[in-house]
Amino acid sequence: MTEITPEIVAEHGLTPQEYDKVLEILGRQPNLVELGIFSVMWSEHCSYKSSKRWLKTLPTEGPQVIQGPGENAGVVDLGDGLAAVFKIESHNHPSFIEPYQGAATGVGGILRDVFTMGARPVMNLNALRFGAPDHPKTRHLVSGVVAGIGGYGNCVGVPTVAGEVNFHPAYNGNILVNAMTVGLAPADRIFYAKAVGAGNPVVYVGSKTGRDGIHGATMASAEFGADSEEKRPTVQVGDPFTEKLLIEACLELMATDAIVGIQDMGAAGLTSSSFEMASKGGMGVELDLDLVPLREAGMTPYEIMLSESQERMLMVLKPGREDEARAIFEKWDLDFAVIGQLTESGRMVLRWHGETVAELPIDPLAQAAPEYDRPWDEPEPAVELDERALPAEGDPLGALERLLVSPDLASRRWIWEQYDHLVGGDTVERPGGDAGVVRVAEGPKGIAATVDCTPRYCLADPRSGGAQAVAEAWRNLNAVGALPLAITNNLNFGNPEKPKIMGQIVGCVQGMGEAAAALGTPVVSGNVSLYNETDGQAILPTPVVGGVGLVPDVALVTGIGFPGDGLEIVVIGATQGHLGRSIYLREILGREEGAAPPLDLAAERRHGDFVRGLIHGGKIAACHDVSDGGLLVALAEMALAGNRGCSLAVPAGESALAGWLFGEDQARYIVVAEAALPILEAAEMAGVPAQAVGATGGSELQLEGYGHTSLARLRSLHEGWLPGLMGGDLVGAAE
C-alpha cells in the first residue's frame, strides 16, 4: 500500500489542517483511494469552501421557485404544468488547455445537469471571455472554443440561442467559457439526486469509464503557473452522439416510475455522484468496482473513482425495475450496469477483486467539508470621472463607427452562425437580439433567456457591478417581452486566498443578492470558478448572470430591428451621460477609469415593468435595451437589424454630446411605435422618464447637425471585424 506522505497530501490539494481533519474522521490513515476521494470532495470545485459563506446570503426563494440551489439545476414554474430547469457552468481551465474539447465537454456537462432533472434541454447559451484580440493565443482559443460549443450542441440538437463575448487582456492567460442550458419539464415530474431505500440497486449508464481528466476537479481549483501547459493532464474528449442517446434513453426511462434518484457524473465522476446521492438520502452505499464498465484494461480503483469520463450517469432504481431500465438503455446502445446498492450503514464501501478498497463515513465527510471565512478587503471606491475635463466630441458619427468595430461591440455573427440556433423549429428570437426565445409545448408560451456581465463595472465597484449584471439580465428579458422569473450565476474570479480578490467576490455576491431581491429574480442555481490567475495575474471579476423569463405569448415578442419607416423612437429611462468605465471612454479616449454607472434598482424595476407592459399591450413595434456603448450604439444596432435607417435629434448641447450619445446610464430601453405621444403620456403616468428622440426611415443613420452615415457602411464595419480577426481561421494547435 502506498505510504501517505505530506507530499502526496499536498499533491491532492489538501492543506495540513484539512489532512488532520481526515485523520480525525477516519481515526486512521487513509489509503490512496480514500485520500483521492477526500481530495475531490473537499476541492473548491465540489465543496465551494471559499464561497459558501457568501452564497448563503443570496435570495433563493419565491412563489415561482420549485427548486433552488443545491440540486443539479434550479427549477421554476412556468404555469400550465410546465417548469423551466436551468443552470450555468464554467469550463474555463480545460478550455484554455484544449479549447475545442474543453468547451465541448463544458456544454455536455451542463446539458447533463439539466436532463438529469427530467427536463428536455431546449436552449443553450454561452458567456465567453477571451484575451486581447492581438494576443498570440486569442485566435486559436476563439476558433477552438466556438467550434467546440457548436460541435457539441449542434450534434445533440439543442439550439444555441444567445450568449455574450468580451475581449480583454486580463483574460490572456485565463479565458472564461461559461455554458448555460435551459430545459423544459413537467412541473410535477422533477427528478432529484436523493437516494433512499436500503437494498435499492445503484445503476451506472452511459459511456465506459476511461482514464480521462483524473483530478479535473482539483485542477479547476488551483491557480495556473506558466508550466501548466507542460503538466497537461489528460483532457476529456466529448462524445455528443452518446450524449444525445443518453438524453433520449434517460427521458424515456423517466416517463416510467422506475427511478428513485439520479445524478450525472460530472467533476469527480463516480465519487461525487455516489457520495452526493447517498448523502442527500442519509444512506450508505456499497459499490463493486469490478462491475463498472471500463474502457481500458488495468484501471485501478483510484482511477475508476476519480475518472471524469463524460456522458455517464448514476441512478438508483426501485427494486425489481432493473430489466425494464436495461431494455431502454440497450435499445439506445448504451452501457448499463448494476454496480452496487444502497445500505443503512451511512458508509461508502468500495469493493474490488473481492477486497474492500475503501470505507468512509459519508455524513461526517460531507458535514466536515471545509468552509472558510477568508479574509477580504473592502474594495476601494473608484474615483468619479471628471466628465467636464473630457475633450468635446466633434465627430460623433466617426466615434460610432469606431465603436461598432471595437472588439466588445462588433457583430458576433461569425460566432453564432457556427451554432445551430434553429434546430427544434421553435426558435422565436435568434441570436442578435436582446434575449433568446424558444416556444414551448406548441405555444403560445415561450421561455426567454440571456447571459450578462459587465466586468469593467465589477472591477470599478464589485457591489454595483454584481447588481448591474442582474439588472442587465432583467432588462434583456423585459426587452423581448418576458417576465423575468429567476437567475443562475457563474462566479468567475481569481485566487480567493488573496484578500483583494476575496473582496471582489464578496462585493459582487452582495450586489447580486441585492438586485435579485429588488427585481424579484431569485438565484436558483449557479457555479463558482476561482483561481483564474496565471502568474499572479487575475482575471477581471466576472460574475456572469443567466436570466430566465416567461413569455406569455410568443406572438407578442418584439425584436430589436426597426420594423418599418416613419415610426417614432422613444428612450425610456433617464439619460444623464455617465461616461465612467464606458466603452466610449476606453475605445475612443483610451482610458479605463472612473466609477461604474450608478444603479437605481427601484427605477430599474419600474422601467422594466413599464416596458414589458407596453409589449404585452401590443403598443410597440421594436424594443432594445441600452447597454454597452450607450444610446447611439443601441440605435445603430436596431437600424442594422431592421435594415432601415433613422434620424435622431440631439437635445444636448455640444459639451454634453458624448455623454448623451455614448454614456452608459442604466435602466434604459429604446422603443419604437407609430406615435411617441401615447407612450410619453403612459410613461408620465407611471413615473418613468421618457424622451422622444427621432424617427425611423431611409437607409442612413442621421444625426441632426452632425451629418449622416450609411447603413451599408456601418454594416460592413460592424460585420467585418470578427471575420477579419479570424481570417486565417485554422490557427495552430500549439500556437
Binding site: 467550434a147 457548436g150 460541435g151 449542434n154 450534434c155 445533440v156 440538437g157 462524445d239 455528443p240 452522439f241 452518446t242 444525445k244 442517446l245 439506445w332 446502445d333 455573427r413 453564432w416 452562425e417 457556427q418 451554432y419 445551430d420 440556433h421 434553429l422 434546430v423 427544434g424 423549429g425 421553435d426 426558435t427 422565436v428 435568434r430 416556444r439 410568443v554 406572438a555 454594416r715 460585420e719 481561421d729 485554422l730
Partner: protein, 227 residues
Amino acid sequence: MKSAVVVFPGTNRERDMVRALERASGRHPALVFHKDTEIPPVDLIVLPGGFAHGDYLRAGAMAARSPVMREVIARAEAGVPVLGVCNGFQVLTETGLLPGALLRNAHLRFVCRTVTLRVENPQTLFTGRFAAGETFDTPVAHMDGNYFIDDEGHRRLADNGQIAFRYVAGGAPGEANPNGALDDIAGVFNESKTVLGLMPHPEDATDPLHGGTDGRKLFDGIVEALA
C-alpha cells in the same frame, strides 16, 4: 398524403419535419426507427436532419448502412418518392440513391443562417408549386454541405434537369453559397426525379415564427402532387 419519417440514432430534426408535414398534409407522419425492417405503406419517405451516428467516419455513412435503409432503397427503386434534408441528403448520397457526395464545408465551419435558393427545375413532384427561376429563403445548418460531383456527373445532372436548387445572392450578409458547393448546388434529384436531397431546411421555414414561411411551397407542392 401519408408519409413516414425515418429516425436514426443522432437524428435531431425529426420534430421540425413532422410538424412541417403535418402543417402541409394535415396528417401525422409515421416514425420509423433505424432498426426497423419495415416501413408502413406511404406516399412519401422522409430522411430528416441531424447527426446520425454522430456523423462519425463520414456524414451519413453509417446511417446509410442501417437495416431500415434497405427498405428505403427498395421503396425508392419501386418509385416511392423520397425526400432527404441535410443529414438525410448525406445519407441518400451515401446509399447511391442520389449522385455525388457532400464534403466538409469549404471554410471548415458549421454554418447556420438563412440562404436564398433558386428553383432550377419546377417540373417535378417536389417543386410543382414553384415557377422556374423562382427564389425563396430558407435556413441552412450543417457542417458537411459542400456538394461535389465529378465533371461527367455534373454534366449529366445539368443535362438531365437533376439540379433542384442553387444558392443565389439575397439572404443574410455573407456569401450566397454557404459551404463551397460545386456550381452552387443546394439540392439534386435522382434521374427519375422521384428522390430529392437538399442541404437547406425548408421545414424550418413553415411557421410565421420561423421568420418566414417560404418552405411551405415545397411541402404544399408535394402534398398536391401525391394527394
